[in-house]
Symmetry: C2
Subunit: 469 residues, 2 copies
């Protein structure tokens, strides 16, 4: 049995997983995990790793290949450059997996006030907007605000038929034609869609839009390293070469079938044991960094859609799935910590901790009541808050682990996202569910089509006897 080690040193580039406070040595009340419980999974790991290798080599799980696709990388970089000068504003129209990866990268790696800066202070890059909803007020406000002559719209939908994104596209296309004429309109549209035949791809061909391709063997929520995530990132000025380099580095570390050495597999095993053996049905991701907040939202989709399944692959009804929850440190100490400390013991927390923020924001020296703050810096305070909260939660018997990120840059962010993808896939294998499907969203889609008049009855229209006050 392996595992108890001296802390790995901060080498400036490697993300480490500290799971001390998941373990029985730290967490009482029967909710700590024992090394024996982890060891008990080892026999399953070889088989799972072999199965993953097959799915990877056959291309069934295509996301593994994305960080190695240098052709796509070059094409994205080339296209980003070619659109830069016609583009003061860059608008991504997409929803779910078509938006969350790009949002996560933008939030993590661009200036916090990017859209308010001058173009020069943005490094010559455009303002960036992700419109991942069909809220009519938001959409109208944005269209009224933009200058279509200097705006590029990136339409992102793998199927080419997502109702929300297609609706946005149809409105924008008409607006561009009305304002710029049919010939120029197409120069302001980039379509990112699946490789197979679909209606949007056909339109893009007919109307001469620039086109980027999503491999069909990559599920939407695993597309961050495809043009879905890479193109908006490149337009934002993010070094996507470094990003993919980080993803490949995570792949190297997370490929071994030695459970105790693989941070993604070990992370997955801890989540699985926490849920199945300890009843921790809520999975909180809590970055202590504003820049990583949207990584947590990206992960929330990844975790929820991949692992929440009614049935196993062999058809057993299990209705499984931890509920992912996003919290932000230190902010949510003043919102959710009361719940995490005193509420039901049904949660685990993964902290995202940044070791070096790269800035210094000193608090001036003080006397009196505030002397304990003076002379420190905000960069120190936020780390102390994380340590203090971790300690308080551990003392209260609340399971937690930490992903320790040396600093935030494209390499570490690429590493983090890929590690979390592998963790998710591995956890799905432990549950024996298919992490790449989402059958539970079909009923809602069917009803939408019915209610919009495509087909089928609208049952709710005939519903009677409501309770209302």
């Amino acid at each position: 049995m392996e595992g108890r080690q001296n802390p790995l040193r901060n080498d400036g580039k490697t993300i480490r997983l500290d799971y001390t406070n998941m373990m029985a040595g730290s967490i009482g009340g029967g909710r700590g995990i024992t090394p024996e419980e982890i060891e008990g999974l080892v026999p399953r790991v070889s088989a799972i790793a072999a199965d993953i290798d097959v799915k990877r080599e056959t291309g069934e799980w295509g996301f593994y290949a994305l960080p190695y696709d240098m052709g796509a990388l070059e094409e994205v970089n080339r296209m980003a450059t070619s659109f830069l000068d016609r583009c003061d504003d860059f608008v991504v129209l997409g929803i779910g997996g078509s938006a969350l990866g790009g949002i996560a990268l933008f939030n993590a790696l661009c200036h916090p006030l990017h859209n308010l800066l001058s173009r020069a202070d943005r490094g010559g890059n455009p303002r960036i907007f992700f419109i991942d909803n069909v809220d009519p007020v938001t959409f109208k406000s944005l269209l009224d605000f933009l200058n279509p002559e200097k705006t590029v719209f990136n339409i992102v939908t793998k199927s080419g038929s997502t109702s929300e994104t297609v609706s946005q596209f149809l409105i924008v296309r008409q607006m561009l034609i009305d304002r710029l004429g049919r010939k120029s309109a197409g120069e302001h549209i980039v379509v990112t869609t699946g490789a197979g035949k679909n209606r949007l791809r056909t339109i893009a061909g007919e109307e001469g839009y620039a086109l980027l391709t999503i491999p069909e063997n990559v599920a939407g929520r695993f597309t961050v390293f495809s043009p879905v995530g890479l193109f908006p990132a490149a337009v934002s000025g993010i070094d996507i070469d470094d990003l993919l380099s980080g993803a490949r580095y995570a792949d190297e570390r997370c490929r071994t079938d030695r459970l105790w050495q693989n941070p993604a597999y070990l992370g997955g095993a801890l989540h699985y044991l926490a849920n199945v053996n300890k009843g921790l049905s809520i999975n909180i991701m809590m970055p202590y960094s504003d820049a990583l907040l949207q990584v947590a939202y990206w992960f929330r989709q990844l975790w929820a859609e991949s692992l929440s399944k009614a049935d196993t692959v062999s058809g057993e009804r299990i209705n499984v799935g931890q509920t992912p929850v996003v919290a932000l440190g230190a902010t949510d100490q003043h919102s959710q910590l009361q719940l995490y400390t005193e509420g039901p013991c049904n949660k685990m927390i993964t902290f995202l901790l940044v070791e070096n923020s790269g800035v210094s924001v000193p608090i001036p020296p003080q006397s009196g009541d505030f002397a304990y703050l003076g002379g420190h810096g905000l960069e120190e305070l936020i780390k102390v808050e994380a340590r203090a909260t971790r300690l308080a939660l551990t003392e209260a018997g609340r399971s937690n682990m930490s992903l320790i990120i040396p600093e935030i840059n494209p390499f570490t962010v690429g590493q983090l996202l890929f590690l979390l993808e592998v963790q998710t896939v591995f956890t799905g294998c432990l549950y024996d569910v298919d992490p790449m499907v989402q059958p539970g969203v079909e009923a809602s889609k069917r009803h939408i089509h019915g209610m919009m008049g495509r087909s089928g009855p609208d049952k709710e229209r005939t519903e009677k006897g409501r309770y209302i006050v």
Copy 2:
């Protein structure tokens, strides 16, 4: 027994609660609530309502009085006007309850692109920033960006000693003194703090800052109708008279002790029964409106801190508390719906539905695959998505209710927030916990003080034997 009624008509101003899909007639699997279960709470309601009336009349629960405090309203309006011309940028420094109410109002009632508009297009109002974290990168970026001569900082902390807010204040004060001189610096600071003696209030007096007062009998998370929420709202150009008028209207509706007639009490009873009788330990609020997203985050603190308690008021150990979760429609249909439909049956959802968005965003007529979308509008699509998702979840046996909001304006938003406050307080009474305290956050605060060198040992410094990979 009451309750089954014809749907209330949309009168253009009244928020209605549709709880049909919480009930056994709609939800199977033993998770639907029966009218008899609700009726079973009626005997407790008179006693609870009487207790609430006492706490309200004695001023123990001061938030009930806020919508009636015309003096505070006038002072806030006067001060907002007086600061307007020295203020291109208005920055709120606060955390938790000191920020969330203001953020919710700003998000709900200002233009979605407020900070990107010209001052004229913002109605003459400044840009608004809420800095509710101590992230050093965010903070430094903002300070570097702002012009201190044209910026006003609103420091909000009821205790006057919140570590995060005090740290921000100390940094900003020094920056203002360095840049503008000691005399002018004070003209750029407005302190909002508790009525009692505290260190920040003393400094404000000594240095001549403008001062707004939070009544001591209002818990931080219930301060949205105090100057905490009202001042940033007024500076943003929100009609706070209408806001309070809406709160008073909700108070009228939510004061009756007739359970079946009181939307706040009935909402609370349904949450309580769902958790205690049906095991629905996760409480999702899902607005189908970008503008209401931050209302859901405000509610998330209100619900978590007020109701998650280790002990009842009589000292019984219960570790109670639903976990509040925020989701956004239609966006999160593409992120969380798979979990909500197929995952464990441990959740309930409250939809926030807006009947009239006030805008029209038509999708051009189409033939072929997209014909079902053409001729409709986004304002219609988002409502159809909500109906379809509600129907799909109900068919899958997932409990849900809807707060139906005629349209978004200061009156309805005031109504909504006050209704949710009363619902929370009433639910706390059903659990027999004190909704106004948060003892679970003290350990973390103690550790922060210790680690920052104020006092006490830092246990984690001596921790040995970590698990890390």
